[in-house]
Symmetry: D2
Subunit: 289 residues, 4 copies
């Protein structure tokens, strides 16, 4: 019913700002027969930094992957000290979900996946509990349990990592996974681990954020999806949203209403990430729309 | 054009929860000929605390102010260990605005006042700068400058206080007043000083919150109106609101867009306070609607 | 872990406004040993109409169901021309979901149900297509297909109704059910059929609301949950929410992003309804919080 | 304190989509020594239409206004059937405000103007009533009254137009101006008359939208700023925003709370328009950010 969209290439670029970057990149693509279907750029004046996302159709493009990489580096990127990433629309991200006991984010992502709303593969779900096995397997997705204690953490993470590698996973989504990943594990997936924290960060980092929010008497609660770094709840923020609360809501109500926030915000962050729309710069994100 | 609304009395009550409070209060008012036009109550189950706002028309009420106070205390409040406040709709709050150099909250409040949107008197505006004299005096409101330095602060606050007393001021509104009030000054107006802080508290308390927000890379910025206590930016929150931002906005944009938030949030808090709709309990507020 | 909450009774009351209603109702409950845990009332001054929701614990209440009904009618409701409904917290609403092909609302409601977030029974799901059979049966809930054509509609609705009666269903939730119910079917469940319409009603009633919204160039799209009446998309609104859009979103994006709105708004409406928090008056709702 | 920003040129472009447009425009600017500081483009796939806003610094640009126009038309725009507009950052829009009796939008715009928040001149305010003369003249801005009746409308509009021409006005802002402009008047300022309507259009077009909203029982009310066309309330929407309401709010509350929406939404639309960020296409707007 929906025709396959044409195959595209996507470049994400960060470099020092200077005149002529847009013209140079657009000209390169144009000269090689690419039809630009998306271009957005951003200049951070304070940092004199330039950012760009550009996507073009490959039907008439005359460079294959290898030559694209070498030509672009030589002709455009090298002289301008660019950091750049190249993606192809037909290489689907392979995503592992990590969960603990709360089902709402898991269900939300799996039902979006089933409805073809997210252009990803989900080869497996990992958990430190058996609790959500049934919920996962209902969707025909393998579920692996790795119970974690202080004593077993290193070994279990190594085993998890082996499984992830074996499944060619490139992105981890912590869908209310209530274990802190070790710095080693985090370092294996730089800016490729997405977490959902149930507060409006940086307010209420750490444990029991809804309890903290209740104690402080805020009138709005939030959820934050961010890349995981070795600093807990301090990674670059991808998406946030909030809802109003009042004195009428108890902590239990915060927990319940917050679930809607969490699942929506996490899904938005995942969608931006897998759509190759996020660039990280100095612990902040540029999220192209 | 708009007829004068009937004169009402308003009771704000806080007490330990127990059966029969609503019935007792409603019955008291009813027995004395009062027609209840508003009743809202809230039970905090965690604290076993009961809160109520009740308002009734006085046309046929058979107790004058003195007898109302003594009868209510004796018959209803005393036996139930109630904290309570009594207000009359025809005693308008007398509000002083304190400002520094930013005009947006001042203009917003003065134009609401001129449009009869806020049921208050504004006998004067205080400032630590002369900057907004013209803006204030345009509205026919006296403007008083009290420059503050570390050396003069105590004396100047004493002079300000004398002026406030002389003008029978009961509520202070810090409409982007960029001086910290001394604990002594704060203590003179318990839960009667309203501040607007330009962040989503408790995130980004203290100085330059928009700069802090930019550095952290948040996707939403906020404003918080709260009662001032001796702990800076830690007082009970009355109102908060937020707007979305993205990487496209600079700190300058945050400052500009945040002004809209600040003025709206401050106005909401002032309206709730002067409408006798706010109860403070354990550094949180109950804001009846 | 979570203790069973105490059994409560809930009264929803609508009547002409007059002095003393709150006192009379509260006193009645109090006299019979009920402990009021929730009371909210609303006066519509334009209509001189009074509305109330009151809930009390039954532990020490001295009236059984029959005597409560007769005593309340005689002592309180009759003399004041009250419309009233009585509910008990331990009588769970029995809800049938009606779906067509879109899975998002179905999954959302079933996963909330599985997480015990909604205090209801869902004995069955009805559909005019077989499409969502698997999604439903995964949750262990019977799925019944009633294909509908103009020719078969009356007979099929009669068969559906028989099944609903057999299952003691009291509430229908149209979770993106793309068939219009006949007036006869609607009349069987007055203010007990909840629909989700994918626009901010009354804008874009009828077919293809996202297409309509796109054509009009709105900057915000919405979803509306309402009771179904015989006037299509004209019933009393229970809940609405919106999200911002821009020229960057296509109709396809509206459809995708709107799904998040639809499932959240429908869930809020269902929660309010089954929590006995909704009163309908003159095609508007009072939704107690 | 704030240094003058460098002088820039801004191009707004609409044309049929085809490969190479971005490259051609960027290359043109680059070749002539312009430093691009902003570029955003949008492709409407349904219409195969391309839209672009591009802004560049003029310090080292080697074309004056006349040659820029002719060269761009000849080299870039002509061959691609472009509709295009050229603006310079140092040519400030000259804006007339039209008001009736409500002060909130007027005060809001004048105080933003005084705070240098809007980069415009406001040479005059027009009204059909004398009511807001004082409010306007306080800000040192001339106020002109043109009472309008059916009999005098044509003559009065002619007089208004003469005054607008005399003052070199290019944009009209209807800041709650409660008169319908004649089609002739509208035709003189195509897509340069900005109105604020106090509803979420297309819901509740026409008179008394808050009353309509109340009668329909919506849970959210809105405000819409749009370009005025000869079809009342049907012009291209520039900005919209909403707030939640409940059964507790009366029409009077809608009117009061709606004022905050109206002033914020109108200001956003004015800011986008005068920042040369709005393109109109098929009665919709592209609003670059």
């Amino acid at each position: 019913m929906i025709p396959t969209p044409p195959r595209t290439a996507i470049l994400l670029i960060a470099c020092p700002d200077r005149p002529g970057i847009v013209a140079a990149v657009a000209d390169f693509i144009q000269r090689h027969g690419g039809n630009i279907v998306y271009l957005d750029q951003h200049v951070d004046r304070q940092e004199d930094a330039f950012f760009m996302r550009i996507e073009w159709q490959l039907d008439a493009f005359d460079l294959d992957d290898t030559r694209l990489i070498s030509s672009f580096q030589e002709e455009v990127a090298g002289p301008r000290a660019m950091d750049w990433q190249l993606h192809y629309s037909d290489r689907r991200p392979r995503v592992a979900l990590l969960v603990s006991k709360d089902a709402h984010c898991l269900y939300d992502l799996l039902s979006r996946h089933e409805a073809d709303e997210l252009d990803i593969d989900i080869p497996l779900v990992l958990s430190n509990h058996a609790h959500l096995r049934g919920a996962t397997e209902r969707f025909g997705i393998p579920f692996h349990v790795f119970p974690i204690t202080a004593a077993t953490k290193a070994a279990q993470e190594a085993a998890e990592h082996a499984l992830l590698v074996e499944n060619a996973i490139d992105t981890l989504v912590l869908a209310r996974y209530m274990q802190i990943l070790s710095p080693e594990m985090v370092a294996r997936y730089p800016h490729r681990i997405i977490n959902i924290h149930h507060s409006f960060l940086p307010a209420f980092a750490g444990a029991r954020p809804y309890h903290q929010a209740y104690a402080r008497g805020v009138k709005i609660i939030g959820a934050t999806s961010h890349y995981v770094t070795s600093d807990l709840d301090e990674g670059p923020i991808i998406a946030q949203d909030v809802i109003r609360v009042s004195h009428k809501e108890s902590v239990t109500d915060f927990v319940r209403d917050g679930k809607d926030l969490e699942k929506i915000v996490l899904a938005r962050a995942v969608r931006a990430h897998v759509g190759r729309k996020v660039l990280v710069y100095k612990n902040r994100t540029i999220v192209f729309t």
